[in-house]
């Protein structure tokens, strides 16, 4: 170790301390998941119950359905949320008029900053039986009313589509940045060889984007069990529990509404472990296929 670096290491300390205090110390609270925690007895007075809460999680008839729902919704969100911004970035990149390009870019990422509480209300008004879609748009095509929010399958569709609509503009920025970094010489060479725009996209643009796509995909894999509490909580109802109830809304109803802290911690730990495993796997894959490395 170079002596001259010691000052730099010293400057690292505040950051490390912060991470330790706020990210690592609270992990001690995970012991709640193995206890029958009662607030007035405290962590050290509550009974140990081992894996009981995990057993409860997997033995409840409805919780398996809830875990499956979470996988499906979050998985679809990740896939669609990756494909759409990539395509959009490529298309946007083809626009030659800078003003228009910037305007579109700004417009599509604005929804990212809106909260689901507001969007939930707007969607409710748009998609209800008397909403804009069922009352105005669909009749124009001769389509009867669609139970967007009261039928489980439609509900999933609405959740995934609205989430993509809200977030794709923001993800597009990352991909646009990577497009800007592609060496123009490659395109010039391709043009000389007689490649069309489509061929250029296929053989230059996409391959150059693969590393960043893999990175974004990898990072989002960690949230495979986060299907979006705010969104679903503001949109769901008892009719779509079978297809739309996710771990977080379930934990909210079970854990928070009826103060089952231990159960809620167990579910939280379960989610984190799955997320951790997936991140490790994805990191390996990213390393192998895209030569991406953090360490």
């Amino acid at each position: 170790m170079n002596k001259g670096h010691s000052v730099l290491y010293f400057m690292l300390i505040p950051g490390i301390v912060l991470v330790l205090i706020f990210n690592y110390l609270p992990m001690g609270g995970l012991v709640l998941a193995f206890q029958n925690y009662k607030p007035w007895l405290g962590i050290f007075g509550s009974d140990w119950v081992g894996m009981e809460h995990f057993r409860a999680l997997f033995s409840r008839e409805d919780s398996l359905q809830v875990i499956w729902n979470t996988f499906v919704i979050a998985g679809m969100k990740i896939i669609v949320g990756l494909v759409v911004p990539v395509l959009f970035a490529i298309l946007l990149n083809e626009i030659r008029q800078m003003g228009l390009k910037r305007a579109v870019q700004t417009l599509v990422y604005l929804p990212h900053f809106m909260s689901w509480v507001i969007l939930g209300g707007i969607l409710l008004d748009l998609l209800s039986s008397r909403g804009l879609f069922n009352d105005v748009i669909l009749p124009m095509f001769g389509i009867g009313p669609i139970p967007f929010l009261t039928d489980g399958d439609w509900f999933r569709f609405v959740v995934i589509a609205s989430d993509t609509w809200k977030e794709f503009g923001f993800s597009t920025i990352v991909f646009l940045a990577s497009l800007a970094g592609i060496n123009p010489a490659l395109y010039e060479a391709a043009e000389v060889d007689g490649a069309t725009r489509f061929k250029q996209t296929l053989h230059i643009t996409l391959p150059s984007m693969v590393p960043i796509i893999v990175v974004v995909g990898t990072l989002s894999l960690g949230s495979i069990l986060n299907a979006g509490f705010d969104q679903i909580f503001n949109l769901y109802n008892a009719l779509v529990y079978d297809k739309g109830d996710i771990i977080d809304t379930y934990v909210y109803r079970v854990g928070i509404l009826s103060s089952q802290f231990s159960f809620a911690s167990a579910v939280g730990l379960f989610k984190s472990v799955i997320g951790f495993i997936l991140i490790v796997i994805a990191y390996r894959l990213a390393y192998k296929f895209a030569n991406y490395r953090i360490f």
């Binding site: 110390l25 007035w40 007075g45 409710l124 008397r130 009719l239 079978d242 109830d245 509404l257 009826s258």
Partner: protein, 587 residues
Amino acid sequence: MVQKKTRKMIATLLTIVLALSMLAACSSNNNNGNANGNGNNPANNGGEQVQETENPQSDGFVNGKFEPAVEISTFKCNNNLQYREGESIQDNVHTRWAKDELGIQIKYDWVTSGDQCANKIRLALAGNQDLPDVMVIGDYQMLGELIEAGKIMDVTEAFDKYASDQVKAIYGQDPSYWFSVSKDGAKYGIPTLNESMNNDSVLYIRQDWLDKIGMPAPTNFEELEKVMEAMIAADFNGDGKKDAPLALGLKNDLNPLATYMTDVSWVFGGFGAIPGYWNTWNDENTLEYGSIQPEVKEALAKLQEWFKKGYISQDIGLLDERKGSEQFTSEQSGIIAGPIWMYNWPIQASLMKNNPNAVVTPALIPAGPSGKVGRHGTTIPGQVIVFRKDFEHMDAFMLYLNKLYEYNNPVAGSPYENGWHEGYDYVIKDGKVSRARADFPDETPIDVSKYFIMEGVKLVDPHLSLEIRRKLYNGEKPVTPQELQWFNTATEEEKANPKANKTWQAVDVVLQQKDTSILDMYLGAPTETMVNKGEALRTLEHETFLSIIYNKAPVDDFDKFVEKWKASGGDEITAEVNEWYQSAKNK
């Protein structure tokens, strides 16, 4: 190489994490060990002794006040109060009043925002800190925890000894007032009492629409169906669509079928049971769950029929109470059930703003096919005042409570006839009492009751305001200061013709059917099985019931639900609930 390095790195990180969590565990262990030692040994509790030397015995009760002043510590879950300049939560017109008039020094140990309140109390419990002398608890589960942890006092004796005749009379009206705090013959606190029937439903109907179709207000479901049919056909809002005439909103995680606005409980009540409510449906000594009664099946079939006929909207499952009532205020629907206060808001505030010509009348709940009328009732006991186990000045607190009850419904000529404190909740202008905003200092009236230890609780006989308004509606002249205050909320026109005041009319209507209120009689903390399985059962129930109403499942699915409910924990819950019921009933 890189892989090896990574592995090493992870290993190091894990070691650090492990070491740290152990460290954390050790350090909190120490703290907790100490705290535990204190808690188990109240006699050795240092804090207690100090307090004792500061406040000698309460024997110094002279001329209606304590001398020297007795300190009562408490907390407040509202850090958003308004104060006059120089005042604060610790020192304001009410704390000074309590000290000067009663010799009671109110001290707030901590003040927090409402949403942080439960957490703060739980933290205090978890940390085994000394609790404040007096606590107002709204969460029955926490109340159960406090009782179980042995942290709070049995008040039976103190209440009998120190409560005034007035307070005793009010609390003696119904033994069920005490159910929430009763356990094994002891009373672990004093329940505060909500206004009775404040959430009971009446039916609000568009009178102008009824007049146009030439029908009277429906008295039973059959007539109601005819009215709804006619309303659909008439299309009063002229949008050319078949709007659902009955406004419902069934999005509520706790109980969508018995709620405040857009209530549907009266449809179930018309058959004889309220979903989600524990009551003695079949046997007066046994509580049973409302949702599994066969009457509910009939009501669900009726609602399914109404759904198919378009009497209720396809969106009811998506709408909560506020959104649901918009169907009524935006003139799609002509019928909605809701509490007595609903005429002011949202009906007058929204509907009359859209359409000043709209006329709405509160009407009686219509009867079901067999002539039964039922609606969900309002539980009178609400938040509970509890006391630290070693609290020594129950006499002082009871004096405070007695006086608040006395002065909240003052007799004519009482110093509190016009309100609590001049310049705060009323002012004298040109020799007359005024409550107009502009007449107050800084144009800000102060609601003194927010400074009480029991903030936001009425502290009057729960039936008082209903009785007053019924009297006024029936044309009796206001006599007592309270009656005058209610009378003065009316417009000049209504004062001349009290029958024109719709809220008073709603009160009159709700009282005409007072015997039809069905109460949720379970007032205990969630039982063990409720905590563990309650949510799964509730999910199952709401899913089944809504699917039946939406005609996505046959009505006979109800029978499967009942079987499943009983088998997956419902029977255990019923047993636990009845154990509580017996223990609460036999004081």
